[in-house]
C-alpha cells in the first residue's frame, strides 16, 4: 500500500512538473528567431501559402491562446503536424522513439555493468596501479563528448578494421522484421530472423558504446569513491573481524550500500542519453528521437519541439521514480524515512 501511495504521490507531482515544462518550452520555442511557417515552406513560397499555414497552426493568435489549443490537442494525444516530416508528431514519436530506446537501453546496460565493475575493481585495488589506470581512463571518459567517441569508434571499427557497419539499423539486403516493439533486435528475435538480429546488433554496438563511455566513466568514479569511503567504516572492520569471508563483505556489505549514488547517477545518465544522443545518432545515421528533436529545434518545428521535450520530461520523471524505488530497495533507511515523512 505504501508503494502505491508513493507512486500515486509522485505521479500527481509529475503532472505539475510536466505542465510547467510544457509552458516553458512552448514560450521558448516561440521566441526563437524566424517564422516557423516560412521556414517550413521555404523562402520562395507565396505569402498566401505561408499565411494559410500560420492560420492552420494558430500562429496569428496570442501565445496563451496558442498554448490552450496545443494543450487541448496534447491531452488527446494530438501534438499537431510536424513542419519537417509533415506528419502527425505523435506518429513520428511512435516511429523514432523505439530506435533511441533500443540504443539508450544497450548503452545503459553497458555503462551500468562496466561502470560498476570498473569502480569495484578500482576500490578493491585502491591506490595501486589498477586504481590509477581506471582513474585516468575515467577522467578521459568523463571529459570526452560522446560524439568524439563516436567518430573514433567509426574510424577504427568502421573504417580501418571494417568490422562493424557504419550507418543505420540494418544493412542493405537484410529484411526488416515485422514491427512489434520497434526494437529491431527484439522484433528480429520474435520473428525468428536470426540473421536480422545479428545484423541489427552489429549496427547497435558502435553508437551504444559511444553513448555509454561517458556515463560508464562517471559511474566507475562514483562507485569507486563510495566503496572506498565505506571500506573505512566500522561495520566493515567489524564484519572482517568476525571472520566473514571477504567475498561476502565486498558483495553484500560493501557493494550494495555503495551502489545507491551510482544507481541515482545511472538513472540520470540513462534519461539524459535520450537528449544527448543526437550527435551520435547523426554520425551513425540512426533514426532516433534525439536526432528528430534536434532537427526540430534547428528548423523551428514548434509542435515537434514541444512534444519531444514533453516525452523527454516523462522519461526523466519515470526514470527518477524507478531510481527512487530501487534506492529504497537497496537502503531500508530511505524507505523508513519516506514512510515517516508521510
Amino acid at each position: 500500500m505504501r508503494l502505491l501511495a508513493f507512486l500515486a504521490r509522485r505521479i500527481y507531482q509529475s503532472i505539475f512538473v510536466l505542465l510547467g515544462l510544457s509552458v516553458l518550452i512552448f514560450i521558448i520555442a516561440r521566441i526563437l528567431p524566424g517564422d516557423p511557417a516560412r521556414t517550413a515552406l521555404g523562402a520562395r513560397a507565396p505569402q498566401w501559402v505561408v499565411e494559410r499555414l500560420r492560420e492552420d497552426m494558430h500562429l496569428n493568435d496570442p501565445v496563451p491562446v496558442q498554448y490552450v489549443y496545443w494543450l487541448r490537442g496534447a491531452l488527446g494525444g494530438d501534438f499537431g503536424i510536424s513542419l519537417v516530416t509533415r506528419r502527425d508528431v505523435a506518429n513520428d514519436i511512435i516511429e523514432f522513439f523505439p530506435a533511441s530506446f533500443e540504443l539508450v537501453l544497450l548503452a545503459g546496460i553497458i555503462s551500468g555493468v562496466a561502470g560498476i565493475g570498473l569502480g569495484t575493481l578500482s576500490a578493491r585495488h585502491k591506490d595501486t596501479w589498477v586504481d590509477n589506470v581506471v582513474r585516468i581512463l575515467s577522467y578521459m571518459g568523463v571529459v570526452t563528448p560522446a560524439f568524439v567517441f563516436a567518430i573514433i569508434l567509426l574510424l577504427i571499427f568502421g573504417l580501418a578494421l571494417g568490422w562493424l557497419p557504419a550507418i543505420g539499423r540494418l544493412s542493405d539486403g537484410i529484411p526488416a522484421p515485422p514491427t512489434v516493439t520497434g526494437l529491431m533486435t527484439v522484433d528480429a528475435l520474435l520473428a525468428g530472423q536470426l540473421a536480422t538480429f545479428w545484423d541489427a546488433l552489429k549496427h547497435l554496438i558502435m553508437p551504444a558504446v559511444a553513448l555509454a563511455l561517458g556515463a560508464l566513466s562517471q559511474e566507475a568514479r562514483i562507485t569507486r569513491a563510495t566503496m572506498a569511503d565505506n571500506l573505512s567504516k566500522d561495520y566493515i572492520a567489524t564484519a572482517r573481524s568476525l571472520g566473514i569471508p571477504e567475498r561476502i563483505v565486498m558483495g553484500r556489505f560493501l557493494l550494495k550500500p555503495s551502489l545507491i549514488p551510482t544507481v541515482s547517477i545511472l538513472g540520470l545518465d540513462f534519461a539524459g542519453s535520450f537528449s544527448n544522443a543526437f550527435l551520435v545518432e547523426l554520425i551513425f545515421n540512426w533514426p532516433g528521437l534525439s536526432r528528430y528533436g534536434m532537427n526540430a529545434m534547428l528548423r523551428k518545428d514548434l509542435n515537434a519541439i514541444s512534444a519531444v521535450i514533453l516525452v523527454l520530461g516523462v522519461i526523466f520523471i519515470t526514470v527518477n521514480i524507478v531510481v527512487d524505488l530501487v534506492v529504497g530497495g537497496l537502503d531500508p533507511r530511505i524507505r523508513l524515512r519516506a514512510a515517516r515523512s508521510e
Binding site: D35, V84, T85, G158, A166, G168, S171, D172, L201, I283
Partner: protein, 547 residues
C-alpha cells in the same frame, strides 16, 4: 553470482558481434571483395548509393530543395526536359503550339506512356497535377504562375491559358511533375485543408510516389533513407544506360566522417555536395575515388544594402567592388572556381560573358571612394557584414573583405548570424544589415529569372534581396524581358539588364559555385552532359554502375 560474469558476457558479445556474419546474411561487399554467402553475384540487383542533406520530400507539390528535386526528376515525368545547353527538349509532350497572342499553349502528349502502376498517362493527369500544385502552393508552385485555365479537351491534349505572355512559361513546366490522378485520389484522406480534395494525397505521397518516371520508390524510411527501383515499363526505357543501377538508395547523411567511412568501405558510390573543401581533399586521397566538379546555376553574392549609409552611395559601393580581392576569394574555394562575370551565373541562358565586371584595382577604388558623400566620415558608418553561421566557410570570405576594405579606409564589422535570423533581418528594410553573404541559386536556366529573384521589387522583403533596390524602371524592364516570348529577343533584353545592374553596382559578385561530389571509379557519370537545372545532374538512367 560470479562477479566476472557481466564482463565475460560483454566480452563475448563484443567478439561475437565483431566476427564475420553468418552465411545467410549478404553484407555489402567492400571494394574488390566477393559478397559473403552470395554464390551468384550476378543475381544481385546493382545498387547505387548517394548521400544527401535531409529531409526528402517526394511529393511534387512539396519538394523543391536539392534532394527533393533529384528525386522528383527521377520519379516523375514532365512535358518537357531540360538539356545540357540550357534549353528544353520535348519529353512527354510530342509537340506544342503557342497562339499568336502568346496566351494559349497547346501540348500534345505522346501515347503509350504509363505510370508505375501500369495505367496510362492522360491529359487529365496533367490538369490534375497542375491544379494540385497550384492549390497546395508549396514546392515549385511559385514558378508556374499566371495560368488562368488548364484543360484537357481529349486524352492527349492539354491547353494552358495565360494571363499575359511569358517567356518563362515553357521552361517553368520542367517543374510540373505529372502525378497519377487515380492513384492519388485513391490514397487521399477525406479530411484535409483543401476542401473537396481533402489532403490532396499529401500524407500518402510523403513516402510513396505516383509517377511515371524511370525510377519508383519501393521503401522510404523517414530520417534515414529512400530506396528507388528501376521502372522497366518506362516509356523512354531505351534511354537507360546499359549498366544503369537496378536500385538507388538516397541516404540521409552529410556527416563528413560517416561519408568518408562509407565510401572507403564500398558502401557509398556518390557523396553529397555539402562536404567542406578539406573533406573533399581527404576523399580525393582514397584509392578509386575521384572528385567530380561541374558548374551550377548558383553564385555567391555579397548583397549590399543600397538604402543605408554609406552603402546607399553608388561610389562607395563601386569603391568596395574595386577593392575586393576576387582572385584571393576564388583561391579559397575548390580549384576551377571562377569569379562571376556579371550579375548572374554563367550557366544561365541569356548570360552575357562580355558584360563589365569589377576586378581588384585599389587606385580605382580610392578614386571612387573620393567621390562618395561619406568619404570624410567613414568612421561614423562602420559597414556590418553578416555571414551565415551555419556555413562556417563563409567566415573566411568575410574576413578577406574586412582586410581588403581596411586598405582603403572602410571600417568593417564581421558578424556571424544564424540563417533564420538572416531571413528575419532581410525581411525588413530597417533591420537589413549593410551586407549579407548568401549563395543564391536559379530555379530555371534563364538569366531573367535570376535577375528578377535578385533585383525586382517583389523580392525585396525576402532573403533573396538585401539590396532593396526598389527601382520601378528596373522592375518594368525585368517584367518586359520576362514577357517576351521570342527567346532571341528575350535574351537580348537580358543583356541590357545585366549591363544596367553592373552599372548600379548593387552587390559584390564573388564567384559562380561549383558542385563537387566524391565518386567511386566503378560509376559512370558525366554530369556535364546533363542539364544544370537542380536535380537533373543526377538523372539516374544515365548513371552506370559497373559492379
Amino acid at each position: 553470482m560470479n562477479k566476472r560474469l557481466p564482463f565475460l558476457a560483454l566480452a563475448v558479445l563484443w567478439i561475437a558481434a565483431c566476427a564475420p556474419a553468418p552465411t545467410e546474411v549478404v553484407p555489402t561487399p567492400g571494394k574488390g571483395e566477393t559478397p559473403v554467402g552470395a554464390e551468384t553475384p550476378s543475381a544481385e540487383p546493382s545498387l547505387l548509393r548517394i548521400t544527401f542533406a535531409w529531409p526528402l520530400y517526394v511529393d511534387p507539390a512539396v519538394g523543391s530543395d536539392y534532394v527533393g528535386s533529384t528525386a522528383l526528376a527521377n520519379l516523375y515525368d514532365t512535358l518537357i526536359f531540360p538539356n545540357a545547353e540550357g534549353g528544353m527538349d520535348l519529353y512527354l509532350a510530342e509537340s506544342w503550339d503557342v497562339s499568336d497572342d502568346g496566351l494559349t499553349y497547346t501540348f500534345h502528349l505522346r501515347s503509350g506512356a504509363t505510370f508505375h502502376d501500369g495505367s496510362e498517362v492522360l491529359a487529365s493527369d496533367v490538369v490534375y497535377s497542375y491544379n494540385r500544385l497550384h492549390t497546395i502552393g508549396e514546392g515549385y508552385a511559385y514558378l508556374i504562375s499566371g495560368v488562368t485555365d488548364v484543360s484537357a479537351p481529349d486524352d492527349t491534349t492539354v491547353v494552358f491559358t495565360l494571363e499575359q505572355p511569358s517567356g518563362l512559361f515553357v521552361p517553368s513546366l520542367v517543374r510540373l511533375y505529372i502525378v497519377n490522378e487515380d492513384l492519388v485520389r485513391a490514397n487521399t484522406n477525406a479530411e484535409g485543408p483543401y476542401g473537396d480534395e481533402g489532403d490532396y494525397g499529401k500524407e500518402w505521397l510523403l513516402t510513396h510516389d505516383a509517377g511515371s518516371g524511370p525510377y519508383t520508390v519501393i521503401e522510404f524510411r523517414l530520417e534515414e533513407y529512400a530506396l528507388l527501383e528501376k521502372f522497366e515499363g518506362w516509356w523512354n526505357a531505351a534511354a537507360f544506360a546499359s549498366n544503369a543501377a537496378d536500385q538507388v538508395k538516397f541516404i540521409g547523411t552529410t556527416e563528413a566522417v560517416t561519408v568518408r567511412t562509407l565510401i572507403s568501405t564500398g558502401e557509398l558510390e556518390i557523396s553529397d555536395q555539402w562536404q567542406s573543401v578539406e573533406a573533399f581533399q581527404a576523399l580525393d586521397k582514397i584509392d578509386g575515388v575521384e572528385i567530380m566538379v561541374f558548374p551550377t546555376m548558383s553564385s555567391f553574392y555579397y548583397m549590399v544594402n543600397n538604402r543605408i549609409p554609406p552603402t546607399d552611395d553608388v561610389h562607395c559601393r563601386r569603391a568596395m567592388s574595386w577593392a575586393f580581392d576576387y582572385q584571393a576569394a576564388v583561391a579559397l574555394e575548390w580549384p576551377g572556381t571562377q569569379q562571376m562575370v556579371g550579375p548572374v551565373p554563367a550557366t544561365l541562358g541569356g548570360h552575357d560573358p562580355n558584360v563589365f565586371t569589377f576586378h581588384r584595382d585599389l587606385d580605382q577604388a580610392r578614386a571612387e571612394l573620393a567621390q562618395c558623400a561619406y568619404a570624410d566620415e567613414l568612421d561614423k558608418y562602420p559597414v556590418q557584414i553578416d555571414w551565415v553561421s551555419e556555413v562556417p566557410a563563409e567566415e573566411k570570405f568575410a574576413l578577406l573583405f574586412q582586410a581588403n576594405m581596411a586598405e582603403i579606409g572602410i571600417p568593417v564589422e564581421v558578424v556571424s548570424v544564424p540563417w533564420l535570423t538572416v531571413v528575419e533581418n532581410t525581411a525588413k528594410q530597417e533591420t537589413s544589415p549593410h551586407i549579407v553573404t548568401i549563395y543564391v541559386s536559379s530555379a530555371l536556366p534563364e538569366a531573367g529569372l535570376m535577375i528578377k529573384d535578385r533585383y525586382h521589387s517583389s523580392t525585396a522583403p525576402t532573403w533573396q534581396q538585401n539590396e532593396w533596390l526598389l527601382d520601378p524602371e528596373l522592375d518594368a524592364a525585368i517584367e518586359d524581358a520576362l514577357a517576351t516570348v521570342d527567346e532571341e529577343a528575350r535574351f537580348a533584353k537580358y543583356l541590357d539588364l545585366q549591363a544596367t545592374i553592373m552599372d548600379m553596382a548593387p552587390s559584390l559578385f564573388l564567384y559562380d559555385q561549383l558542385e563537387q561530389h566524391a565518386v567511386v571509379d566503378y560509376v559512370d557519370w558525366t554530369p556535364e552532359a546533363n542539364s544544370a537545372v537542380m536535380g537533373y545532374q543526377l538523372f539516374l538512367p544515365w548513371i552506370g554502375v559497373n559492379r
